[in-house]
Amino acid sequence: MKRFAGWTLASPATLLVLLGLVAPVAATIYTTFGTPGGPFAPYMAFFGSGFRRTVLLRTINVSLAVTAIALFVGFITAYVVSRAPGWLKSILIIAAVFPLLTGVVVRSFAWLIILGKNGILNSTLINLGIISEPFQMLYTQGSVIVAMVYLFVPLMVLTLVGVLEAIPDDLIQASASLGANSWATFTQVILPLAVPGLIVGAVLVFTGSFTSYATPQLLGGEQVMMMGTLMYQQAMVTFDWVSASTIATIMVVITIAIVMAMNAAARRLNPMTV
């Protein structure tokens, strides 16, 4: 009896993940290989279509831009938060957690109000006399990027605060007292120690952007179609399930490949493991 206690306790969760996730997702991937036109026909169709290649490239570009901006903004913010006095730190962390716990629809909706044709940004610019006509900001790649940066900066900040807090003040002061200016301290002490955290943050933001649906749907629409919105359209509007499954497979492969590559990079770049 005791020999199987572990399995008995773990089996409900194991079965749920096997039957509810592994099997259905494997079936989705499998259907893209058993089509009449040959084993790789759906992939030839995907990469043969200029429109779909554009969507894939756009999704990669947008995700890379969001990741780069979130890394830059998140790193500076997390650094200042990690060195803030206790009470202020708690307030700043609450201010970062609150948007994170607020749903993606609400947060994307906020940018719909700000960037709309009669939105706050346009009316402010007109009132200031900077522009005379409302500017088309929604349904552009820029609006999707801005809203996604908004979505992911809190995640990046919270990921990095923990990592940066772990760098002792003494280390930074030692570097300064040994004659390094603040730029040298930053690039030679703080940055290398933060690399593992930066990698985790980058993976979270990139895969999150790459597979997002609500934000590109609301702020990009048909004009700025991304992999997530294209997949939904293929599955639920045109009911081309083979095509939707192909997009799903490409998303799974890219996501898992990136996580594995970043894991390997994190192990190699982490100064603590050398």
Partner: protein, 262 residues
């Protein structure tokens, strides 16, 4: 002596926090506006858009569905996640290494792919009810959070206390409820809250698993936004933010806010 930070960095950080909080303040302001269109700053204060939420049948129904799905899937995830976490800490040598990888898979596989696969290979293939598929999808989505949080609190649990109770004649199930569970109480609360809020906010799985008569609140919000641009969506958003504040208050009371930074 704390490290000096360049004033430019402090200024930059202040701007970032305005960027983070500002849009949510704008949503709150627009929800209170007395106009029939979305505007900020609000023109005339009114709560009529909050009344409008409950006047629209679709919102009433989807709020109820969202709460049902969140409560049921959180409960199921705890029910199967707590024993699984326990098994992985207590019987580590009995269980294969791939098991912990299996429980991270729901985070690795894109939610959209899971939602679509459940629709295609469960709801369609086996004629499973949409509501059941929705519960399965949400339970799988939140299971990794439950397992991670519970495992973290079990890591600091001294299993010899449990052995002491059993050797003194306490039956296993009673030992679980009177010895183990009280010791991981804060982990269970944290897991519950994280799971609940994740389920309520989910779009990417639910978007595929809504059919005639069944939809969740975020999906209904998306649908409403495509047709109307009135402050109703803003007031629903404010309701969701109130839920978030409530959740943060519970976390603060039970675990302290430092927990959120972890």
């Amino acid at each position: 002596m704390p490290t000096k930070i360049h004033p430019a960095l402090i200024g930059f950080t202040a701007l970032v926090f305005i960027f983070l909080v500002g849009p949510l303040v704008i949503v709150l302001g627009s929800a209170l506006s007395d106009t029939t269109y979305l505007t900020f700053p609000p023109q005339g204060l009114s709560l009529r858009w909050f009344e409008n939420i409950f006047a629209i049948d679709a919102f009433r129904r989807t709020i109820l569905t969202s709460l049902q799905v969140a409560v049921i899937s959180t409960f199921v995830a705890l029910l199967i996640g707590i024993p699984a976490s326990y098994a992985m800490s207590r019987y580590r040598i009995q269980l294969p290494g791939w098991l912990s990888t299996l429980f991270v898979l729901p985070v690795l596989v894109p939610e959209l792919v899971l939602g679509f696969s459940l629709l295609k290979n469960l709801a369609f293939q086996f004629n499973a009810p949409i509501f059941l598929s929705l519960i399965i999808g949400h339970t799988i989505l939140i299971l990794p959070y439950v397992i991670r949080v519970i495992s973290a609190s079990l890591a600091s649990f001294d299993f010899s206390i449990e052995e002491a109770a059993i050797s003194l004649g306490s039956p296993p199930l009673k030992t679980f409820f009177t010895v183990l569970l009280p010791n991981v109480r804060s982990g269970v609360i944290a897991a519950f809250i994280l799971a609940f809020i994740t389920s309520v906010n989910d779009v990417s799985i639910s978007i595929f698993l809504t059919g005639p008569g069944i939809s969740t609140l975020p999906i209904q919000l998306l649908a409403h936004m495509e047709q109307f641009f009135d402050p109703t969506v803003a007031s629903v958003s404010v309701l969701l933010m109130v839920l978030t504040v409530a959740v943060m208050a519970i976390v603060e009371r039970t675990l302290g806010l430092t927990f959120l930074a972890k």
